[in-house]
């Protein structure tokens, strides 16, 4: 019987090709967007690569000075003076690090312009993050203390600069500064906010150390704790420390300091919800729960779109088959068997859409992996299957209701093409 059902299912899909296309397009689009969105989210927030110990880490990406009554503020990344005054004295973290954000640097080699991302780090950075060392060594405390002009580069940069030659011991020039390559690490994707870069150099290797005196700067602070359960305590200690703003660089204008220590997920949630409006004090509350709720609602609404589309198409499809239903009933088909047939046909359609999405999604992810530098977006199978199941359930329900109504018609009425509506 299934063979007969399958034949008729395929024939029905081919009978109205445009409707089938619209139906499949909805399913494929939904599943693909779902998979791509989740892969991107996963890439940003899940512990992986050098950031596989994310559960132990909080980052301070933004420091804001404002006035409690006047409408005035300054906001930027943490500077050296903030780091020295507010972060270094913390007792809960087992490791703390100050690095610059990844910045664009330009170099010319053999007449070619090469653009790289460069990040200046301290020694703790290499202990907090766990880079995959390909050859050579990572930056050592002595490199930082001495302000050596040495660099660790990633594999992509090694390929672009050295074309298969051994890079170790050779020099690269970024901007106007020359560095000796001492190590090569695996590529870190652009979506990894803490580890992403092409070139890493000592934070002390710059021409001046004025950054040590600046309260704000384009930097990033990492706080690491051996026991992940102590992350909240680490956050609380920082919050308590910044509350009395007693190292005020401009006591006339600012009397409030905020420096939230966040996980990558919280950072993304705040960004997505627009809660990094720095005039508000929203950082004190965790935006994760609201973000998850919004994501779930958006995902459900998005998946409901093809489901509604499917309901509409199914009703039309089934109603035009009234004579066939009448014939089958006259031939002795029980109502439940007829309903089963239409459910089977919908399942075929859903699975076909799923199969197409399974083929399309990796292509889209591949394109995005080229858009994001060193992108490592992957198809998450459980998410894909869950999305497919959701669309499938809606598909089945959407087919079952009109099929049940039609199958309950008297055969004589159905044979005349009568509809239930």
């Amino acid at each position: 019987m299934l063979k007969n059902y399958l034949k008729i299912a395929v024939a029905v899909l081919l009978r109205r090709k445009f409707l089938t296309f619209v139906n499949l397009f909805g399913t494929v689009l939904t599943l693909t967007v779902l998979v791509v969105a989740f892969a991107t989210l996963e890439s940003v927030v899940s512990p992986s690569g050098a950031q596989h110990r994310n559960d132990h880490v909080l980052a301070i990406n933004r420091v804001t000075m404002s006035h409690s009554t006047e409408f005035i503020l300054r906001s930027s990344g943490p500077g050296g003076a903030f780091f020295t005054s507010y972060v270094k004295p913390l007792r809960t973290p087992d490791l703390i690090s100050l690095t610059t954000q990844a910045r664009t640097g330009t170099s010319y080699i053999e007449g070619r312009k090469l653009t790289v991302q460069i990040r200046a780090t301290d020694a703790a950075y290499w202990k907090i993050l766990d880079f995959g060392l390909v050859s050579g060594r990572l930056l050592a405390p002595d490199d930082i203390d001495s302000g050596k002009s040495v660099a660790v580069i990633n594999e992509a940069t090694a390929r672009d600069w050295f074309h298969g030659q051994a890079p170790l011991g050779k020099r690269i020039v970024v901007g106007s500064h020359s560095y000796e390559v001492v190590g090569i690490v695996r590529d870190e994707p652009q979506t990894s906010a803490l580890s992403y870069s092409d070139v890493w150099v000592p934070i002390t290797s710059g021409e001046t150390r004025a950054w040590e005196q600046e309260f704000l700067g384009e930097n990033q602070v990492l706080l690491y704790v051996n026991d992940p359960a102590k992350r909240d305590a680490m956050r609380d200690e920082l919050a308590a420390r910044v509350r009395p703003f007693n190292v005020n660089p401009d006591p006339v204008n600012y009397n409030t300091l905020r420096a939230p220590a966040t996980t990558p997920f919280q950072e993304l949630a705040a960004l997505a919800l627009g809660r990094n409006d720095l005039r508000r004090d929203d950082w004190q509350s965790d935006p994760s729960a609201l973000f998850i709720a919004v994501m779930i609602v958006v995902a459900l609404l998005f998946m409901a779109l093809p489901a509604v589309n499917m309901v509409n198409l199914n009703v039309g499809r089934i109603m035009e088959r009234a004579p066939e239903i009448g014939l089958r009933k006259a031939a002795g088909a029980p109502t439940r068997v007829l309903v089963g047939q239409f459910i089977f046909e919908n399942l075929v359609l859903t699975l076909l859409g799923g199969a197409l999405a399974f083929a399309v999604a990796p292509v889209i992810l591949g394109v995005l992996n080229d858009v994001f530098r060193h992108g490592q977006l992957r198809l998450n199978l459980p998410v894909f299957v869950a999305g497919l199941a959701f669309v499938g359930v809606f598909g089945v329900l959407s087919g079952a209701y009109p099929a049940w109504k039609m199958a309950r018609l008297d055969p004589a009425a159905a044979l005349k093409g009568q509809r239930y509506a």
């Binding site: 008729i8 014939l327 009933k329 006259a330 031939a331 088909a333 029980p334 109502t335 055969p411």
Partner: protein, 225 residues
């Protein structure tokens, strides 16, 4: 004594909508004996097809009693009528009602899908039914690739594939030319005569009706003699 296969006793059929009531049949008493070939005649809209649908258990009487092989079927639920139709009845329609997306064999197989038949048994019966109607060479064609007469023969094969006792034909030659009509009539006669199949046929054509054992005339929803 002839045995009644299906009988209607004082049957009434009323179609109701929100606005009006239409009496399609009233006070109908009719008994069809096993092995009989009965023709139903009457003008358009007189209730012939309604009568056939009641005999075929695909419509329900508003009042009255319907018995099949001596058993009342008036109050049977749909789930109980379905297997009875599957075992005992075969239908042939004026417009064939073949499923255009299925090949001839798959169309003929449809009634067997709802019975307890193995795949090999279904295949065997389908080929046998096609041989009876002389279409075994067209088994893999789609309906659109066949002439009207051939399509009706496929429909007859589908009607007899379950080896029913009662074959109901609603103007089976209505869409066919005279040559093909004769072929279909000959086929129905052969099924009645050689296989003992009871046949009830609705027709407008007096010459076709004259070839049956008995003619039942319907006028304004009532049987006339």
């Amino acid at each position: 004594m002839p045995e009644s296969l299906i009988a209607l006793t004082n049957v009434q059929k009323i179609y109701r909508t929100d606005r009006m009531e239409t009496i399609a049949l009233q006070g109908v008493n009719l008994s069809v004996e096993r092995g009989e070939f009965v023709s139903i005649m009457g003008p358009s809209g007189c209730g012939k097809s309604t009568l056939l649908n009641l005999l075929g258990l695909i419509d329900r009487a508003t009042e009255g009693e319907v018995t099949f092989a001596g058993q009342s079927v008036t109050k049977l639920r749909d789930a109980q009528l379905a297997p009875l139709r599957n075992r005992e009845l075969g239908f042939v329609f004026q417009s064939f009602h073949l499923i255009p997306d299925l090949r001839v064999t798959d169309n003929v197989e449809v009634p067997l899908l709802y019975g307890k038949h193995s795949a090999s048994e279904r295949r065997e019966r389908v080929l046998e039914a096609l041989a009876v109607v002389g279409l075994d060479a067209r088994a893999n064609h789609f309906p659109a690739e066949l002439s009207g007469g051939q399509q009706q023969r496929v429909a007859i094969a589908r009607a007899i594939v379950g080896r029913p006792n009662l074959l109901l034909a609603d103007e089976p030659t209505g869409n066919l030319d005279s040559h093909m009509s004769d072929e279909i009539m000959a086929l129905l006669e052969r099924l009645n005569r050689e296989r003992g199949m009871t046949v009830v046929m609705v027709t407008h054509d007096k010459t076709k009706a004259d070839r049956s054992d008995r003619i039942v005339r319907v006028f304004d929803g009532q049987l006339v003699h």
